[in-house]
Symmetry: C4
């Protein structure tokens, strides 16, 4: 595998679908929110993306079955005929290198553009590094007009205090070069655990903006499971890294298993 | 050399060979186990793989002769006519960059697929970072069915506590995209020395699964030699790294000799 | 996006334009100086450069609007008919990887060469790591003749005490392979804040060398704004990095948002 | 510049030239020895190699003139008609990434092979990290036969205590895939300064092996100059790195100037 590629699982026609991106990131806020939409509204997976810029590893699920690193495209048909459909981009990883991120995000935009996508919402977490009482939702947009709309939905504009790193930022930036429009929404989070509170707050703003109805009660439940799974994985990884840092001569073992 | 390539040393026909991967990794557990099979059963080397993603260096053997960084393919014919043959993948290194790992693993799978490989076992170590009394064997599989078989052979399923990093994980993940099936077996090991105990435990499970008979007595002996050789190398490397860390301005000298 | 590319915004003819490079770097000294020229003399943006080697992120402006990572080409017509025009290269980032820097700088030189560029000035800061009373201007040139001219303008030659890292150095080096000529000017700066003093000192030498007249009073004002904006961004980034360093297992989150 | 390339300065015919590699590395031992040969025997530069995997920077010489990062090929005609000529590979840098090192070394071997090179000597330092009384010369070879010859010239075989990192190792390893033969010679050195003693010891073994006569007296003098120049550069770089390490948010500034 020398190039990022998309494997199409189902041919589908979509009506000007809005892209909702929620790849794993700080506090898994965006991922949690998007996974909730996918499950509650029975979104259908129709494509998978694989990339040589993903981490060279696999995950293992609860049954001991190997899971490859990938991004996944789900579609969600809206009920009204004239309404826009949705494409939800989820997955278990992001590209590691800058060049990989640029390649992957460009391929994602090429792909959704073929379905007619002109709008894009990217979801993420904004890590504060300290406990958060009632998570604010931060945002940035591709135009002042959209930024104004965000403000009306109680989104705090990110206004010049730092960039948006990773796919959430890059997809938005690259979409501007294609005359797409959109926004990034970030749930405020301490950042060092799976944050269902932030995801819930993020989700409620997103649903309002997209005019979707959805019960967010089960989100906390889903968060518990995910939290358990990921904290284990992180503990593992942390131990590996610590061992490596103690023994600098083996630093390269990171990619060796 | 801009691309990974395989140099074929002997043309051979194999009967649906099972791939056994054992590249160097944590505790050299997998490598030790596979090297033992290769030597005891007189497996024949038939191909070598070279890659620009390998470390830019050479090793030196006991006679002062330079050894290039490479992966090696050995075959092992099974005695019964209808039995499956084996391809053993060994070597002295793995790819350094994520992109390199993906390229190398894809080329490995392309190569063995031509010989008819549909099954794959990857071997590795699972580092605990602390002393291990009686090494457990951990495992993960490409399907629930195979995971169940592993359990019957006293393999502890890795179930969701971290991924499998490097070739052992990636080969398995990429094989799933080709409808191959297989499993990863990992010997529990402290991780900071050549662990013959873990290799022995790993080997006995593997031999059981593959229905191969083999004396594992000499494994401890082989481990002693390897241990001596590698600990020297590690000491050397550690000293280099320490000197570099003390003198940050020379960090880049890592690739300079 | 797999390749660096330049998007031309305006077709323009220029008279042997002198390239002035001032991408962000230590103390933002060069950038500050060039931005001042651009604004005070109303230079016109005529092209933008995008690269997959830029950081995989976006910035956000004061209105909450996303800004993509890019380099920008401005032109400035000189008033006299026979005088040389100017191309000013500004932007919000540089390439991250060595390979990316080489690619980007080569594409920049290809581009300006088409307009007839034969001379090049690159601007930067020279970080001392400690407070600076009255910033000196350091310099290096593509020939002894130009080095002598620099000396006459009170530029201290950098003479063999370290190289010039990044676009300021590389553009100059690569320009020599094309028989262009030029110099790098670096304002002495502590290096850890936006340094308007250094920029002012740098600008006055540059204006002298280029025989341009320009009021440098407003530079301090502009510096204040920029300083405010960038220190916020840096604080943000620093917090992110610190959190990451505390939690080594999440190091890769750097590219995840 | 997307690819490594060689610029030929003089067309020349050589008689089965022996390649002597001495790119900068630990203690600059190899570089010092080779530079001495080049100057004392008036070797002629006939080609330069440029690569996007070199550090994205320039050096500055004593006159404030910029020097690009490059490798340089010199030839040295032997006096006897039937004797082999020499190609000496010197320069101010090596490739930074593994992939870059592989690409550069392959291109170097392609290049010298065209001139008929079948033998190769690579020179380097072996860093001990502590003071060295009388520097030993360590070595490794492409065959047992050559290793035996080295031993007869008082070279200590490196025998399995670590590899040879960088161009000195990699050129030798890759040359074996082309059926060239050769050896690496390494002068024992503390490693943290320009080591003329080690270079002198290395040179005397090399001259013996190649049957060249040369006065090594001036080597110490040359070392003094080089030492002065490089220690300045290192001090500079160290200061930069220290500042960066104190301010993690600016880590990327490494490539920014």
């Amino acid at each position: 595998m020398k190039e990022t590629f998309i494997k199409i699982l189902e041919e589908v026609e979509l009506n000007d679908p809005i892209l909702i991106e929620a790849l794993p990131g700080i506090g898994h806020v965006g991922k949690l929110a998007a996974d909730h939409i996918i499950h509650e509204l029975n979104a259908t997976k129709f494509a998978e993306l694989y990339s040589p810029s993903f981490p060279p590893q696999v995950l293992v699920d609860d049954d001991g079955v190997v899971e490859t690193m990938k991004n996944e495209f789900y579609y969600l048909k809206s009920e009204g005929k004239k309404e826009k459909d949705f494409i939800i981009l989820a997955g278990n990883t992001q590209g590691l290198s800058p060049e990989g991120q640029y390649e992957i995000c460009s391929i994602i935009l090429d792909f959704v553009e073929k379905y007619g996508t002109k709008e894009i919402f990217t979801l993420g977490g904004l890590g504060t590094g300290h406990p958060v009482d009632k998570p604010k939702i931060f945002g940035a947009a591709t135009s002042i007009e959209i930024a104004e709309i965000l403000k009306k939905h109680n989104v705090t504009l990110r206004s010049a205090d730092g960039g948006i790193i990773g796919a959430s930022g890059l997809l938005l930036g690259l979409s501007m070069l294609r005359n797409m429009k959109g926004a990034c929404l970030m749930g405020e989070t301490p950042g060092y655990f799976i944050d269902a509170e932030a995801a819930k707050a993020l989700l409620s703003v997103l649903l309002e903006l997209l005019d979707i109805e959805l019960d967010t009660e089960k989100l906390e439940e889903r968060a518990k499971e995910t939290r358990k799974m990921i904290s284990k994985a992180e503990q593992m990884e942390r131990e590996m890294m610590e061992r490596m840092h103690l023994k600098p001569g083996e630093e390269d073992l990171r990619y060796i298993g």
